[in-house]
Each structure stands twice: as structure tokens, then as C-alpha cells.
């Protein structure tokens, strides 16, 4: 998938969470998204970056544009080489969390976005890809 103007934000500390969501907001603004959608994208990125920091300690958020199908879209890939997720099905259930958090992380992120994909291998890491199309 061709991404134009891709931004890569390494996630190693809580300062990087703020950087990642600000980059997402800027990318969404460039693509002409509404203020509401800019907030949704920034919030989703914040949650994904936080998951990286909490579960894997290190990883990256990659933000790009997708205008493949004639639609304007933002693609965000959150990637880490952490412990991975044992049961994706369980992780996507509202209320499930292994870290004693709110347990809203992934189902919440899924609700904020138009497309949501996750792949994970225990011991190898996790990749979450989300897309938001411009209305």
C-alpha cells in the first residue's frame, strides 16, 4: 500500500505518546479531516501508543495517508516486538485487560476508527492497523 508522506514516531516514553498523537492530528489536518475526526484519530493514536508503552515498552507508530480508492484516508500502524497478545478475541472484548487498566483499550480504539486490523504472535509482538476515511 503506497503511503505518501509517512511519519514514524518511535514510542519509548510518555512524551512520545504526545508526539505521536500530535503527528496524527497534523496528518489529519493536512488531509482535510474535520476537527471531530482529528480528535478521534489523535485519541486512537494515544491509546495505541499507550498500549505499546505499557505492554511492550518500545515500539513505533507510523502515520500515513491512503488515497488509493479515491477516498482520502489516514492509516496508522502501531507496531511493537513485545510479548504479544495471547487471545486477540479476548483482548477485543469490552472489559478485558491483563494490566489492571480500564480494559477499554482495543474495543474503544476500534469504535473510533473505520477499519481495524490486529495481528499478534505471543513472544513476537503486535501490529495494529487502523484507518479513518474522510467524511
Amino acid at each position: 500500500m503506497p503511503l505518501t508522506g509517512t511519519i514514524r514516531v518511535p514510542i519509548n516514553s510518555d512524551v512520545d505518546i504526545v508526539k505521536a498523537r500530535q503527528s496524527g492530528r497534523e496528518a489529519a489536518a493536512q488531509a482535510g479531516f474535520s476537527h471531530t475526526d482529528m480528535s478521534l484519530i489523535a485519541t486512537a493514536i494515544s491509546e495505541l501508543a499507550r498500549n505499546i508503552l505499557r505492554y511492550a515498552k518500545h515500539g513505533e507508530i507510523v502515520i500515513g495517508h491512503d488515497d488509493n480508492s479515491g477516498k482520502q484516508g489516514i492509516v496508522v500502524v502501531a507496531r511493537d516486538e513485545g510479548p504479544g497478545i495471547r487471545s486477540i478475541e479476548q483482548a477485543l472484548q469490552v472489559g478485558f485487560s491483563t494490566s489492571g487498566g480500564l480494559g477499554l483499550g482495543l474495543p474503544g480504539v476500534r469504535r473510533l476508527t473505520d477499519e481495524f486490523e490486529i495481528s499478534s504472535k505471543p513472544g513476537r509482538g503486535t501490529v495494529v492497523t487502523i484507518k479513518k476515511w474522510r467524511a
Binding site: S39, T43, L102, L104
Partner: protein, 126 residues
Amino acid sequence: MEVPILKQYHYLIATIQAALTDADLLHLRDALVQRVGKFRSRGVIVDVTALDVVDSFASRTLRDIAHMIRLRGAETVIVGIQPEVAFAMVQLGLNLEGVATALDLEEGLAYLDEKTKTMSEGSSGR
């Protein structure tokens, strides 16, 4: 980025002026819980007008602040949640349950005046 906390009569007003890291939010929480005792404040206003994102961590920390301040004997009101922030919070399933909110600083002050008035009437009646 440290959040300035202003003491005004019986109230503390914390105005968030830019995006905060998790550490900044925890620092704000600790500072408010300390100062509400130091200044014997009856109410706390946290103004989040400048925040463009309130994610799960920020939401949980704001709730913790309100609950801790209540345990210290004072009231908290969160003011200035922007429309798009409210939208994203609801989509994410965050509702700040049990936490008072108001449209802006003015409404927040009115809320605290009302709330602390009944508090002092209630205590003087005993």
C-alpha cells in the same frame, strides 16, 4: 509542562495550557491533593479547555483527582471539555462517572459556590 494552580479565595483553579504527558497529569494530581490541605480549599476547578485529547489515562487521572479531593473534604469540577473531545471520549467509552463537570470556568465557579454553600450549611446545622 507544569500546570499552574491558582488560589482564589476558598478555591484552587488549575488551568491546563497545553498537551500533558502522563507524568504531568500525575504531578497535577499530587499537587492538587497536597494544596487542597495546605490552603484549606473547599473546591477545585480543573480547566481542560486547551486539551484536544482526553484518552483513557487522562480520563482516569481526572476521575482520581476528583475522588481524592473529595476524600480530602473538598469538591472538584472539571470544566471546558470541548465538543470533539466529548465525542471521542464517549466513543472510547469514557464517561467520567461520578465526576462533576461544567461548561466553562464561570459555570464551574457557580457549581462550587452552590455545592460548598450547602456543605457549610449542613455542617453548621450539626
